[in-house]
């Protein structure tokens, strides 16, 4: 839903010759600046600095949701802080990869991308940069999804076959389009 409907900004600060380019600090700064100008609230609180070797304080941050394919490129962005460099790594989320400026990146192996969609025909990865309450799922009739299993006894007198199925009753909705930006990037 976010890939199809959220406004997007192409990464243009990179040097890979594509459009969008690979992600750079300038692109992150542009997204953060845009979300700040749109009065989006950050989701995560800051992590205060502590007197520990190799750590750095982490700003209050918006979430940036993206594919695990981008992890190598994120490592190379200026100012990237790995989550093991947080003063309190236990405050990092399981899927978190690190932070750049006011973005904390959460990665997923099923992160969104458009195949062959860049200027040079490469995959374009969507990085959804979201502020607090930027989007929501409205659950209808009191539930969002049901996974229904019926054991074989319901099949017939011989109880030979089980069945499974699922059904959804929910509506996704961007509650404020100014608080979510899709930062699009290719790989370096």
């Amino acid at each position: 839903m976010l890939a199809a409907t959220a406004g997007f900004i192409n990464c243009t600060g990179g040097v890979n010759g594509d459009n969008p380019t690979e992600i750079t600090r300038a692109d992150v700064d542009e997204v953060v600046r845009t979300l700040l100008n749109n009065n989006a609230y950050t989701i995560m609180d800051n992590i205060e600095g502590e007197d520990k070797f190799g750590t750095a304080p982490v700003r209050d941050a918006y979430f940036a949701l993206c594919s695990t394919q981008l992890t190598g490129n994120l490592d190379n962005v200026a100012g990237f802080i790995q989550k093991n460099q947080y003063p309190a790594p236990m405050n990092a989320l399981r899927s978190e990869w690190g932070a750049i400026g006011n973005l904390r990146f959460l990665v997923s192996s099923i992160g969104s991308f458009f195949a062959n969609a860049s200027a040079l025909g490469a995959n374009v990865f969507n990085i959804f940069c979201v502020g607090m309450e930027a989007y929501a799922c409205i659950e209808q009739d009191g539930y969002s999804a049901s996974f229904i299993y019926r054991p074989p006894i319901y099949d017939g007198p011989l109880a030979l076959n089980a069945s499974v199925g699922y059904k959804f009753a929910e509506v996704p909705r961007i509650t404020n389009d100014l608080w979510v930006i899709n930062l699009r990037a290719t790989l370096a």
């Binding site: 997007f8 243009t12 969609a117 025909g121 409205i138 069945s163 909705r173």
Partner: protein, 329 residues
């Protein structure tokens, strides 16, 4: 008989093009009957009945037809006929070579292969050597000359700035313009703007037909490379829609002219319109979910059209019955 089988049946009138039949629970077999051609004796012959089963190779089908000029029944195993289709995971069509393109507001791309292109199809162009400003854009197309060329349907504000060299196009909307017009499958989705008139009311042209409707609200994003920066971030209401043209309640007569970035401006973020809601007084009995984003994804099967296609020719009366079997594999 095992449980958990389903059977659906229906009818449609052929248009000559492909037809999509949704099967929510999947499909393992399908029979199709062309009632119009059943009693005719056309020459050349036309198909009158088809059968498809999941184990058959992709795209194939069994066709029964009257021998040309007679009603003597014959049969053949043919391709293309039936294709399984999931609009949430559409087939990734291979890039096709573009030899060249014109420097015009509706560029014409020369290619030796126009297979499966229809008026209204959506193609993505990439790797264009001398017009990188067009690269990565999806375009609705028209004026298809078989095995020769196709044209961008919705006019850019200005020509891209150079005659296009070699590159590629990729068909995004498989199996014709309908019913798979929602690309991507969430509706309404954002669209890229290629022109905004200086007028009251202004007309916005998108690279792909938007399928928006009157009353919807859209936010405009117009980066500096596109000239009309006064329109950036404005929320406007849709007055009417005609293909790729969206008339909105915005007076742009005093704005800077919109321009499509020339081939020397690269890379950039495209101008875009983002659906953000609706003007509720345009709708009767509006409710909070009217402007929700809708998942239009469907699974089913595509019937190819034409004289020997199961979707038949224009005005053919066609009935079908198909279903899911418990032990299909």
């Amino acid at each position: 008989m095992a449980t958990n089988t389903t059977t659906l049946q229906g009818t449609f009138t052929g248009t000559g093009g492909p037809v999509f039949i949704p099967f929510v629970s999947g499909i393992d077999w399908l029979q199709v009957y062309n009632l119009t051609q059943m009693n005719a004796s056309p020459n050349p012959h036309a198909g009158i009945q088809w059968y498809w089963q999941r184990q058959m190779i992709a795209g194939s089908g069994i066709e029964y037809f009257n021998t040309a000029g007679t009603q003597v029944l014959n049969a053949a195993f043919v391709t293309p006929a039936f294709f399984l289709y999931d609009s949430t995971n559409p087939p990734q069509n291979a890039p096709v070579v573009i030899a060249a393109g014109t420097n015009a507001v509706q560029p014409v791309f020369t290619t030796g292969t126009t297979t499966n292109l229809f008026t209204g199809s959506i193609v993505r162009v990439t790797n264009l050597a001398t017009t990188p400003n067009l690269n990565g854009y999806d375009f609705s197309i028209d004026t298809i000359i078989p095995a020769t060329s196709f044209r961008v349907k919705n006019a850019l504000a200005n020509a891209p700035g150079a005659v296009t060299g070699a590159g590629f196009y990729q068909l995004i909307s498989s199996f014709g313009p309908t019913p798979q017009t929602n690309v991507p499958y969430w509706y309404p989705s954002n669209r890229r703007i290629v022109n905004i008139t200086q007028a009251n009311p202004a007309v916005i042209t998108t690279s792909v037909d938007s399928a928006y409707i009157a009353g919807q609200a859209i936010r405009l994003a117009v980066p500096p490379q596109f000239g009309m920066t006064q329109a950036d971030s404005l929320v406007v209401n849709v007055i009417s829609v005609n293909g790729g043209d969206i008339t909105v309640n915005l007076d742009t007569t005093g704005f800077t002219a919109f321009k499509f970035p020339l081939n020397t401006v690269y890379p950039f973020t495209p101008a875009q319109c983002v659906p953000v809601g609706e003007e509720t007084d345009q709708f009767s009995n509006p409710n909070l979910l009217d402007d929700a984003t809708i998942n239009t994804g469907q699974t089913g099967i595509v019937l190819m059209g034409g004289i020997n296609g199961p979707a038949g020719q224009n005005a053919d009366n066609i009935i079908w019955i198909g279903g899911k079997t418990f032990n299909g594999s």
